[in-house]
Symmetry: C2
Subunit: 75 residues, 2 copies
């Protein structure tokens, strides 16, 4: 994950990515931290992305799946 931008995450396009960046979620690891704080609960994370940033269920699910896979593999 390193220092990668939030913009390279699956499900995060430029429009919503800029909103996330504006809120301080500029790096993939910062958004991943939110996923961990939500206890790796994919549905809560997807709901949060949808409610707060208007990201579609489908796109938010792609992001959540990416974080789940990373956590399953490395944590």
């Amino acid at each position: 994950m390193g220092d990668k931008s939030v913009l390279v995450l699956p499900g995060i396009g430029m429009a919503y990515g800029m909103k996330l960046i504006g809120d301080g979620y500029d790096k993939a690891y910062v958004l991943f931290g939110k996923y961990l704080v939500l206890r790796k609960n994919k549905m809560q994370f997807i709901f949060w992305l949808k409610q707060k940033y208007g990201i579609s269920m489908n796109h938010a699910t792609n992001t959540a799946n990416c974080f789940k896979e990373w956590a399953d593999q490395y944590m």
Copy 2:
């Protein structure tokens, strides 16, 4: 890190650990998520532990150093 309790973290004793658990930070990875959301900023994380839970600078620094080492090695 896996599914370890927050209580096994350096700097987190039983008394403050129970406060953290009461707030939902029961697993090490949930508290680590907070560290990531705070952009891996050790001073902000230490300040947050001190302000919110009354954990001493010294103990909070131990926790922060542990998370810094984990992130440096695995992320």
